[in-house]
């Protein structure tokens, strides 16, 4: 088991390297660079000034040299400094990552606790009114973008009832309740959005599993329908669902970025958005690096869960 973990973690290294290379290159392809922006803001426009700023920020070196420099720093935990604020990227990430992580985790919990029960119900009551209602709901959630719902939630309650979701961020450890009150609305919107696919997958898999011979065997033993569904069927049905949840990790992070913007959650998404507008390369790289590591770790976790659910893939 430990050997397996170490092997898996080592296998992450080339993937991350490759991803960082792409991010580093792609960023430089975005039209408009940081120097233009700075010069426009500060009203300086001589070529002499331009060269000076480039040199000061270390942007005068060729891109591959910059990449190697950045990589060398990243390996020692130094992700450089923001080009605009001059604060270390690492400390900016340390401040924002936990917030986005909290939002993502809450959304995931919402998604799972909505998708699994409804998906299972939908399957065992196939073609009943409840099943149709659940399927229609998931279709709507699939079709409607979460930023739109987010905007509706911001606008309509305030027009109708003079209520709007709280937008004041409080750190979780300062005041958990106030924090949750703020985070819950975006978490629910994001969670519901990604629950749609999970719900459909759960339903499909449960329908498939309930047709299997071993379910008939379980019933022939006299087990109650509850045990048949929750013990004998669910564990088999969940195996592909867990994979799906892992694949949704990027969606979750992407959605968090947008909803942080709407609900003024000072997380990594907000940081990234600003950095992209300002072409703040080190910050962008840092965010992508952390996101990449996060997604890969989630996939590792999925594989471990997979092994736990399915004895046939254990100890491989």
């Amino acid at each position: 088991m430990r050997a397996f973990l170490i092997r898996r973690l080592l296998a992450l290294v080339p993937t991350l390297l490759f991803a960082s290379l792409i991010v580093f290159g792609a960023m430089r392809l975005i039209p408009g660079d940081v120097i233009d922006l700075m010069m426009a803001q500060n009203d300086v426009s001589t070529t002499h000034d331009r060269a000076a700023i480039e040199a000061a920020l270390g942007l005068d070196a060729p891109v591959h040299v910059q990449y190697v420099r950045w990589l060398g720093g990243a390996l020692t935990g130094d992700l450089g400094r923001s080009l605009w604020q001059n604060t270390p990227v690492a400390s900016q990430l340390a401040a924002t990552l936990p917030i986005t992580f909290e939002l993502g985790l809450l959304a995931l919990l919402v998604s799972i606790s909505v998708a699994l029960p409804i998906g299972i119900y939908s399957a065992i009551r196939q073609d009943t009114a409840g099943d149709y209602a659940a399927r229609s709901f998931s279709l709507i959630m699939l079709a409607v973008p979460s930023f739109w719902i987010g905007t509706l939630v911001m606008v309509f309650p305030s027009v109708w009832w003079r209520w709007s979701p709280p937008l004041e961020y409080t750190p979780f450890f300062t005041d958990p309740l106030t924090n949750l009150r703020h985070m819950l609305v975006p978490a629910i919107i994001l969670g519901l959005a990604i629950s749609a696919v999970t719900m459909r997958m759960t339903r499909t898999m449960m329908l498939e599993v309930m047709r299997q011979d071993y379910i008939r065997t379980a019933r022939a033993k006299g087990l109650s329908e509850r045990v048949v569904v929750l013990v004998h069927a669910l564990r088999n049905g969940l195996i592909p669902v867990v994979t799906l949840i892992g694949l949704q990790a990027p969606l979750l992070i992407g959605g968090a970025v947008i909803l942080e913007q709407i609900f003024v959650v000072p997380g990594m998404g907000l940081l990234l958005l600003e950095a992209v507008f300002q072409r703040d390369y080190p910050v962008i790289s840092g965010v992508f690096l952390v996101t990449g590591v996060g997604i890969l770790l989630i996939n590792l976790l999925v594989d471990l869960t997979y092994g736990w659910l399915d004895p046939r893939v254990r100890h491989r």
Binding site: Y214, R216, T217, R219, K221, G222, L223, R235, N236, P311
Partner: protein
Amino acid sequence: MMTAPADQTAPLLEIEDLSVAFRTERGLVRAVDGANLTLRAGETLALVGESGSGKSVTALSILGLLGDNARVERGRILFEGEDLLRLDRRALRGIRGHRISMIFQEPMSSLNPVLTIGRQVAEPIRLHQGRSWPEALDQAAELLARVAIPDPRERLAQYPHHFSGGMRQRVMIAMALACQPRLIIADEPTTALDVTVQAQILELLKTLTRETGAALLLITHDLGVVARYAERVAVMYAGRIVESASARALYGTPRHPYTEGLMASVPSLTGEPRARLLTISGQPPDLADLPPGCAFAPRCPHVHELCRGTVPALQPATGTSDRDHRSACHGYP
């Protein structure tokens, strides 16, 4: 003092006039049509017939395991005097795996791939005998030993994919025996296995049912198996029982042309199985579109005019050594 054993008077299982239909895209398919079966305590009854004749449906209706698209249209299934078709779900669950247990055809898919063998064998013991998991697992190990699985203790923690087909069928037998049922239904338990393993499994099943005094309803389409393992035989065709008799009488004096045809297609001891189509020509009938008379009439070598118009009833047969020999044929009055 002499008392007749109770089982001589009251049958353990009595299926009376059972009809089961499925709703399908092609209309109503009557898979079982007025079937009658009687099984006494401790007896082995073979239910024989070609594929699609309704054997599995009959077996599944005993335990109420038919799918949602099935409907029992008529009949009674008396088990120890109680009509299983009238029991509520809860009472029926109390009988499943406890008084009546079932072994299925497909050992590769009949065990749950993600649960340990120990858990799966122990489950009915825990459920019906109220044992704790450790006690039930102890019993499960003993059961695995009884069905001749080596190292039963170690095997409890293993999963189905660690077992071969024959071994899995042994596990199914252990599971079926767990609560000492009065009746075991084995639906083609060896069809999916190698020929050498088939004999071992049937032998094991026979020995264990004899030891525990359980009755066995053995479903098969192999008349060769019947001769060795069953005391009585019921032959099914297109959802109806066309002949029932003791195994000896059925072999000696078959009273239905379909049985004769089946018998001729049993491989001889020395060699090649004779081609089935030579002995019974034609296809089994379409259940959604049965002929008005005897369902076997289109394939019958001795067909009369009467056969095409009237369904023959299952009646006592003549010229046989078995008093309970019955057949449904206009040609063997």
